[in-house]
């Protein structure tokens, strides 16, 4: 279980997080929604330790994430980055097997390659892409490779940062379905941040809306449409009028 309590983060004069409280139960899929610049990515990076919160506490299974063995902590996570974040200088299979080629999870090269090809197959890519470089793939294929890399070491917790940004609706649907299937079959805890409401409905067990640096609303996805919260209603229906200020 991941628990955040009173998490604050400020960049210069910009108070991004102003006391976030959130609980993500093990084996569930939590989707964080909210407008651009509301701190969704900062929240996710705070859990991973890529950003250090100014105040508050983040725990994983009751343990403070800032203490203990960092490698062992990170080995429990997989992450799909918004832009894929594939390493340009490496072949696709080396990207997928990155964690299996070094560190505590190191395997023989042939075995790591075999696992990488199996993970590529799992995300719908054939072995012929294994020896290509990231620049030779389309955006959708790069997202799939990034997904394969996120699941390569069979993590307990997977983070997805805007998994469908920049993809056409059909490819977005394919990625959403893949994420849902993989999270379910691995029994992993998932946390996704997105603006895409089709992703929310396809991926989420629970939804949390971030606004003004705090969690404005959280609940099961089945209750999202019925909530009377005007912020949630404006966001999920994409209305220009409402309590969330928009520039026109």
């Amino acid at each position: 279980m991941i628990e955040l309590s009173g998490v604050h983060k400020t960049f210069g004069s910009n108070k991004v997080l102003r006391g976030v409280d959130l609980t993500i139960a093990s084996g569930t899929s939590m989707v964080i929604i909210g407008g651009s610049g509301t701190g969704k990515s900062v929240l996710l990076k705070s859990i991973l330790g890529l950003v250090t919160p100014d105040a508050g506490q983040i725990t994983l299974d009751g343990q403070d994430v800032t203490r203990g063995d960092r490698d062992a902590f990170l080995a429990r996570f997989g992450m799909l980055f918004q832009g894929g974040a594939l390493f340009d200088s490496m072949r696709i299979w080396e990207n997928v097997a990155f964690r299996l080629l070094r560190g505590t999870l190191k395997r023989p090269k042939a075995e790591a390659r075999e696992i990488a090809i199996e993970k590529l197959r799992r995300v719908g890519l054939g072995p012929q892409v294994a020896d290509l470089y990231p620049a030779e793939l389309s955006g959708g294929m790069q997202k799939r490779v990034s997904l394969a890399r996120a699941i390569a070491a069979e993590p307990e917790i997977i983070f997805f940062d805007e998994p469908t940004t920049g993809l056409d609706p059909i490819m977005s649907g394919v990625i959403n379905d893949l994420i849902r299937e993989i999270v379910t079959e691995m029994g992993a805890t998932a946390m996704t941040i997105t603006h895409d409401m089709s992703s929310v409905r396809a991926i989420a067990d629970n939804v949390a809306m971030l606004h003004g640096g705090k969690v404005r609303w959280t609940g099961p996805v089945s209750e999202m449409d019925a909530t009377p919260d005007p912020y949630v209603q404006q966001f999920i229906h994409g209305r220009a009028e409402g309590p969330i200020e928009s520039l026109r």
Binding site: A85, R102, G103
Partner: protein
Amino acid sequence: MSLLSPVAALGRVTLGLLAHLGRVAIFAAQVVSHIFRPPWYPREFFHALMQIGWFSLPVVGLTALFTGGALALQIYAGGARFSAEAVVPAIVAIGMVRELGPVLGGLMVAARVASSIAAEIGTMKVTEQIDALVTLSTNPLKYLAVPRVVAATLAVPVLVGVGDAIGIMGGWLVGVNRLHFNSAAYLKNTMDFLEVWDVSSGLIKGAAFGFLVALMGCYHGMHSGRGAQGVGAATKAAVVSASVLIFAANYLLTELFFS
């Protein structure tokens, strides 16, 4: 505007500069400490060695060749004023191995390598590849900076050695073909005047310059701002700071070795 405004501005600039120097010093100390602690990344090291050493050979070699030739012409013309044309081989050799070989070799590597390292690491930063490394349990400093810094520290002295030889050859070519020196006498003169310390001091300078070049490339790449403008600024800062540090280190090492 207050009377003290210029003083306050000067103070701000000084404090900013000191803070920057402190950050660079901490970064350098972290890189050096990681050199001696596992895990090590031999594949990244050999890749960096090829990029920095092997692929810099043409530019360093050509620079040394033309510099050696020009130096021979200058010494000959200058020496003629007091009938000292005969010192051309010795001064070309000493000038190349003590000063021009290491400094020009270091500057050429700074232009080629510091910019490339800063642009590569800066792009990795803005495309979240460095964050990805962290989530994959890999320390970016250890994985990206240490192999490049070690490779440059080892490769640049070799480049300087090769550059010295090519520079002396450039002087010999001009001396024999343009200034009509006897070939065997030119070479003998060169060898007679050159001492081991002349060469080895230049190679030590090369190692120091290689360290500084890669360190500046990695530091500015890892502290790159966002977007193309941020990467461009990091690349420029890497080349400028590496070049200035090469000149400063060259003066300090020359004081240390020869005063």
